[in-house]
């Protein structure tokens, strides 16, 4: 008898079908992963199980949990189950914790809600025990800490502690590691796996990351548009995929592109001993403000036609370096030159140099002004030219840029909200291409995209490399993407570049311990053609 048995569940919200005829089960001690791209209904499945659906939701079918049908229970009965028998872990640990309460209080709160007879002291003691279980022993992490005093991974441990404080029989984790760095992700996954086994707890994990799924799950459920397309035991499913969508999803996650050979060897971008400090707020009224060194003595060259990767975890100084390269912020020491000219002269950016440099950002939804049409959006860099093309020449440039990224010239007159995330990222690339820059910076440019869309954008980049002989700096935290799309890679840690070498060399024989840790922590998707039967 399974712990959770969802049978023929259909869900619609205000008449829109979200889930269709869903049947899944989770047994005690089993780790089941639901995976799929955005809009597949995987998060709604979790919310339906918790019966935390938005207003206007209608369900048909049954969600049986330990012989009770959750869809039939009253709200007070559900409150008894939530947090007690079913725990939940959310994606963003910062927003899942109340910033003005201590971690001890928040964990103790879940304990006392379900059993008010427990005294405050006893609840605190139990909270301390639970926090030790998740790797936050009270002697190093006192219960009086506030969430902002912890790192992202430690916060996620507190969220997990809140969810498992009452030893629930089922734990639902919705993208528990998506907001975390790879090394932290590996630790959190180990923790969840260990807890599930130790407590004989069912774990329903929702994630878009197939490498994580393959790493942790006993059973995989693949969803698309609210329908389960395939499910089975992890090994069997990975070895023998039936549904074309599953195959497509796995191939796209492991997508490889072939870059054309680079020709020239002359340096284009030269970064010499660059240091960037930020002022910290004053601690006392007359004391000197402290400094935080975000980029420390960084030097590297980027040769013409080269595809360079820059990897590192959050807070390593990648974004600060990007701003410095673009000449948007002044550096404290060091020189950045593009084709011999400094990017920053005096107190302002050198626009003659900026003309040769463009950038593509991460968020396809935030990087466009919602009130302008596409032709106006992508011609924005023309502002850098002394004599921007007008009339027919401008029209030709727009058409060419849109065609180059696989869109139609007709799209120039649409507004940005009419496009999907992947199309928007194509438009962002068109905006970067339109003035034919010598260097493009990709700042996490594919990180927010679904795997199938990401594969298409990577293909597009490889194609553009052939057509335009692009030189680019690809900044990302995703090692598998960097591995396929770059010739050379820089590894950055705490403001310094710790390793620099040809991409394949670095991945095969990492020299610096940090690079080794990074590569070891990244979950790897097994090649489905090479899994032994």
């Amino acid at each position: 008898m399974s712990l959770l048995e969802i049978t023929n569940l259909s869900l619609s919200i205000h008449g829109t079908d979200i889930l269709h005829d869903l049947s899944i089960s989770v047994a005690a001690g089993e780790i089941v992963a639901i995976t799929g791209e955005s809009g597949s209904g995987k998060s709604m499945t979790a919310l339906a199980t918790m019966q935390l659906l938005p207003k206007g939701a209608q369900t048909i079918g049954s969600i049986a949990f330990a012989d009770q049908n959750l869809t039939q229970l009253s709200e007070p009965a559900l409150c008894d189950i939530r947090g007690n028998d079913i725990g939940m872990v959310f994606q963003e640990p910062m927003t899942a914790l109340n910033p003005v309460h201590t971690i001890g209080r928040q964990v103790a709160e879940t304990i006392r809600i379900h059993d008010p007879s427990i005294s405050r002291a006893a609840a605190q003691e139990q909270a301390a025990k639970t926090l030790s279980r998740v790797g936050l022993p009270p002697d190093r992490f006192p219960l009086s800490r506030f969430p902002h005093e912890l790192s992202g991974g430690q916060r996620q441990r507190v969220v997990i502690a809140m969810a498992i404080a009452l030893r629930p029989r089922l734990l639902i984790a919705d993208e528990p590691t998506t907001a975390l760095d790879v090394t932290t992700q590996a630790q959190i996954l180990d923790l969840l796996k260990g807890l599930a086994k130790a407590d004989n707890m069912g774990l329903l994990m929702i994630t878009h990351d197939l490498a994580v799924v393959a790493d942790i799950a006993d059973r995989i459920i693949v969803m698309r548009h609210g329908i389960v397309v395939e499910q089975g035991a992890t090994d069997a499913l990975l070895r023998d995929m039936q549904h074309p969508y599953t195959k497509m999803l796995f191939d796209a996650s492991n997508h490889q592109v072939t870059l054309p050979e680079t020709r020239s060897r002359q340096p284009l971008l030269q970064v010499q001993n660059v240091t960037r400090d930020y002022k910290l707020p004053r601690k006392t009224l007359f004391g000197a403000p402290g400094h935080f060194r975000a980029v420390n003595n960084v030097s590297f060259d980027l040769r013409r036609g080269e595809r360079l990767g820059l990897v590192g975890e959050s807070g390593c100084g990648k974004s600060t370096l990007t701003l410095a390269l673009l000449g948007l912020e002044q550096v404290q020491s060091g020189v950045i030159t593009l084709a011999g000219d400094p990017v920053f002269t005096g107190t302002r950016a050198n626009l003659d140099v900026r003309r040769k440099m463009q950038v593509v950002f991460q968020d396809p939804y935030g990087s466009f002004n919602p009130r302008h049409r596409v032709d106006r959006l992508i011609t924005e860099p023309f502002h850098l030219l002394p004599e921007p093309p007008t009339g027919a020449a401008r029209q030709r440039a727009v058409d060419e840029a849109l065609t180059a990224v696989g869109l139609s010239p007709k799209d120039a007159h649409k507004y940005i909200h009419e496009f999907s995330g992947g199309q928007r990222q194509r438009i962002a690339i068109a905006r970067a291409l339109i003035i034919k820059p010598e260097l493009i910076l990709f700042d996490e440019a594919v990180s927010a995209l679904d795997v199938s869309v990401r594969a298409q954008i990577l293909d597009l980049l490889a194609k553009l490399c052939e057509a335009y002989a692009l030189t680019y700096l690809f900044i990302s935290h995703d090692l598998s993407v960097v591995r396929t799309i770059t010739d050379r890679v820089l590894v950055m840690k705490a403001g310094e570049i710790v390793e620099d070498g040809p991409t394949e060399d670095v991945f095969q024989n990492p020299r610096h311990p940090y690079t080794r840790a990074l590569i070891a922590a990244a979950p790897v998707l097994p090649d489905r053609h090479q899994i032994p039967a």
């Binding site: 950038v359 990087s367 502002h383 962002a428």
Partner: protein, 271 residues
């Protein structure tokens, strides 16, 4: 709710219409005294009655609406015209001494009760509609500066602003092209609310005799003139009182309704 937008819009439109019509037609001349007919209660010939000089109250309210609306409109214009550029400028240079200077200057204006300063200005430069406009307008500046800066600051963090910076556009150019259109709906809503506050402030100043001067009628002075006769002819005080209440209520309802209507987040919640 859509209802508050409709009711508020209708109430505001009625008074705007009354003010516009008063330019070409009023039932009687608002300045003509007709002592024998003083203090008439509302009747067939004088729809809202007459005051202690026998002037037709409806005509006075229509012409008074003109004064109220003109004063409030120009005052909001002064507030927007100076406050919005200051707010945009402060946001573009956020954290610098300029930002501090602008915002602390705003705090300084906020620190004084607006009516007291308005009385000071009119006491120095003399009572009159123009000085009332300037006094009310000055107190609208920090309101618009703050709201513009707050909204602009969060927009400056967005990636499309970063893209514009990469395209080499100056802070001033970005402020006008990208920031301003994205804060307009906020400013429209605040504008209607400041407009209603302007009408109240003008009524207050006229009430103490510092607003529009006779023979130009104004709602505040009509109230002041009528207060000694409340026990014998309450309608003389009630009519301008209702005019003020209904206009301010209408403008506030319209502001609320507009905010709900223009805010996409609330629109989603409503569906």
């Amino acid at each position: 709710m859509r209802r508050s937008l409709i009711i508020g819009g209708l109430l505001s439109a009625v008074f705007l219409l009354a003010a516009l019509v008063s330019f070409v037609w009023t039932p009687y001349d608002h300045a003509i005294l007709d002592i024998p007919n003083k203090l008439k209660t509302p009747n067939g010939t004088n729809l809202l009655g007459t005051d202690h000089f026998g002037r037709d109250i409806l005509s006075m309210i229509m012409v008074g609406a003109r004064t109220s609306i003109a004063v409030a409109l120009v005052a909001v214009g002064i507030g927007m015209g100076l406050g919005i550029p200051l707010g945009l400028w402060a946001a573009a240079r956020s954290g610098s001494w300029l930002d501090e200077l602008i915002m602390r200057g705003n705090d300084l204006v906020f620190a004084f009760p607006s009516l007291v300063i308005a009385i000071l200005i009119t006491a120095i430069f003399g009572a009159g509609a123009v000085n009332a406009i300037i006094a009310i307008g000055i107190f609208n500046i920090p309101v618009f500066a703050r709201i513009t800066r707050g909204a602009a600051l969060s927009l400056w963090q967005r990636e499309f602003i970063m893209a514009a910076r990469v395209a080499g556009k100056s802070a001033a150019h970005i402020s006008v092209e990208h920031i301003l259109p994205n804060v307009t709906n906020l400013l429209i809503v605040q504008g209607t609310i400041q407009f209603s506050l302007g009408i109240l402030a003008e009524a207050g100043l006229s009430y103490v005799g510092l607003g529009a001067q006779p023979p130009l009628p104004s709602w505040g002075r009509m109230l002041a003139d009528a207060q000694t006769m409340v026990s014998i002819a309450p309608h003389v005080a009630l009519m301008p009182g209702f005019a003020i209440i209904l206009t301010v209520l209408g403008l506030n309802l319209m502001g609320d309704g507009l905010r709900d209507y223009l805010d996409p987040r609330l629109r989603v919640a409503r569906v």
